[in-house]
Symmetry: C2
DNA sequence: CGAAATTCCGTGAACGTTCACGGAATAATT
DNA sequence: AATTATTCCGTGAACGTTCACGGAATTTCG
């Protein structure tokens, strides 16, 4: 019941207060031009009658055009960010019902300048709210400072920064995901050596989003397997041959012993491909995120477990939080929303999406 | 990136189709009194223009009051059904925005008559839609027949029956959850014996909701561990002392060997309590559902894993599906919605809710 | 063929807000 | 006191639907 049982309208309030609905509306929206006396009277009447504005009528009448702009890394079919994009599009559909337009703006996560450019375009678009998946610390901080100064609310997804002007955050607890990963990988077994496959990337201006995850992983290992040998292998994901060469090289010492392998980003499928190619069985392999390629590695048995998050839901939740606060004026219930970490294996992965 | 605001109104459609908005409205709501020709033309135009009705205008104009009644087993703080109830209340809040009232009606899951009574009250309330968590097969079938005859849509949660008049179903794939459970319990270990702890319940008129789960479990075992010995232990959950006695008795043969234990309902905490009481360590224990008591058993290490479902989200999804179909007239996208099976251990359980 | 029945459709008044516009009342200034 | 500024407020037209009403067009039938 939108209006409560009594169905009290703005007209009822106006009548009871001896003014017109226009005046009531003015105090309702703090639009000024109302004498102190009327104002107080109206407020009193509103309270007494328990008047609750009708959201539909309000939304209908105020043809406000809200735009929410989302800034995320470029994506292509099947990769990590495409899932986030999917969530954004879903939320966009729902938001349309409220007359809210959702725009997605992408940037090259390996190119600071493209991020700066994207931010500029966002500000030009004059959005009512912003969703941002940050990859560059300094530039993001500068950007949100701009947003704050313009009174534009923003919410972080995926990871957040240490400022606290954000309306909300939706993402995975990174440190804990690394800790959990180690537990799943080792799983009470004997552990002599663990390979961490990492990506060589252009480090300048770039903050590795998985660093906390690695920290969590390492902490678990030093707590539970202090004598285990941790080997880092760096690969260039863009060059398949080089990947294989690197792994061959790393495994040369004990070629056919079963291994423990882990990656902290979404590319574990690279490792799975390698293992299949080389016919290596019996390895214990754990990775992150539900890309289609990772799922098939899970099904084929080259990966034992994936730790996943519903980044589509996170994205949608971010948009919804913004819509709620923008349109309905409802306060955001929780600022930091750590989404659950899902453990996927071959038996439950089919029901994940 | 995403469509602009729904600029297209019913008037635009009317003009483009060469009719009046009244006629368009009639086809939008299947209110009849429209010639086949106009109808088709209008439908075509709607599709071409991508017309989306403005929910708010619609809600404003049609001062309809919808009520959704949910029939679920009685619950109390912290038990399985309280989570479902929580989801219902959350959805209720959202539904209020659309002027939809959500009512929850409970019945004693061990008493057919109370279920019958609840159904009667539901019908009296004259709801626009019903959410139902069925426990009694025959009575539920009779009930939904009544609903169908009155044209009241209903959706199943938790489990469903073999009729197919339901609008949607939200629940866990029970068979697979048992299969998964066996995989997690055994986990590549040697398995000689597994204890299944079950509940003695008054069987009359009662269909055990976990039977499919048990079947899945057993299938896994015969496939992977054909020689394993499966022992069923029956307990009465209401009598703690008797539970302990029964377990003592069952374990008498090999008292202090580490055991594998499993329960297919939400009461694994009973087993955990027993193990703590008896100081038995090193057992492998797997159960279902995220009751607070189960979570603390997980934290304390007496339970290794829980298989969980977001029954709150299922409940909310059920209400939302009904709201969508009632208010927005949008068809339900999927009839059978099998929600994901979450694997919880001590490292990821804190982020589950 | 004409009247009655039936089918189909347009009209316009709600629904409860928002907000621009213009005017009344009051205060400030000359 | 007359004029001008300022403050305050009422009016009414949107916003995009829904749906009752009445009438036009078409069909049916004697």
């Amino acid at each position: 019941m939108v209006n409560g049982p009594g169905k009290i309208t703005i007209n009822d309030v106006a009548k009871a207060a001896g003014v017109s609905k226009g005046t009531v509306d003015r105090v309702l929206h703090d639009r000024g031009e109302v004498s102190k006396k009327s104002r107080e009277k109206i407020l009193k009447v509103i309270d007494e009658l328990g008047y609750k504005p009708n959201v539909y009528a309000s939304l209908l009448a105020s043809q406000k055009k809200h735009t929410i702009v989302c800034v995320i890394p470029e994506y292509s079919e099947g990769d990590f960010w495409s899932l986030t994009a999917k969530g954004l599009f879903e939320a966009s559909e729902a938001a349309q019902r409220y007359g809210v337009v959702v725009e997605v703006m992408t940037y090259d996560q390996y190119d600071v300048d493209s991020f700066r450019a994207a931010c500029g375009k966002v500000l030009d678009a004059g959005p009512s709210g912003v969703v941002i998946a940050p990859m560059f610390r300094l530039e993001t901080l500068a950007f949100v400072k701009d947003l704050v100064s313009r009174g534009i609310p923003y919410v972080y997804i995926d990871s957040k920064l240490e400022d606290d002007g954000y309306l909300a955050y939706f993402g995975m607890p990174m440190y804990q995901s690394g800790y959990l990963c180690a537990d799943i990988l080792t799983d009470g077994r004997n552990v002599r050596k663990v390979y961490i496959v990492r990506i060589e990337r252009d480090k300048k201006g770039h903050s590795d989003p998985t660093v906390m995850r690695r920290t969590g992983f390492m902490d678990y290992m030093t707590e539970h397997y202090p004598s285990a040998h941790i080997v880092n292998v760096f690969i260039d994901p863009k060059n398949a041959d080089a990947v294989y060469a690197r792994l061959d090289e790393a495994f040369a010492a004990d070629a056919d012993a079963p291994k423990m392998l882990v990656m902290f980003n979404s590319r574990i499928h690279l490792v799975a491909d390698y293992l299949r190619e080389r016919g290596m069985a019996g390895c214990r392999v754990v990775g992150f995120d539900v890309l289609e390629r990772n799922l098939s590695a899970l099904r084929s048995g080259h990966v034992q477990a994936l730790i996943a998050q519903h980044s589509d839901r996170q994205a949608a939740a971010a948009v919804n939080a913004l819509v709620d606060s923008l349109i309905l004026g409802s306060p955001v219930p929780k600022k930091d929303n750590y989404t659950q970490m899902d453990i996927l294996n071959r038996y439950n992965c089919e029901y994940y999406m």
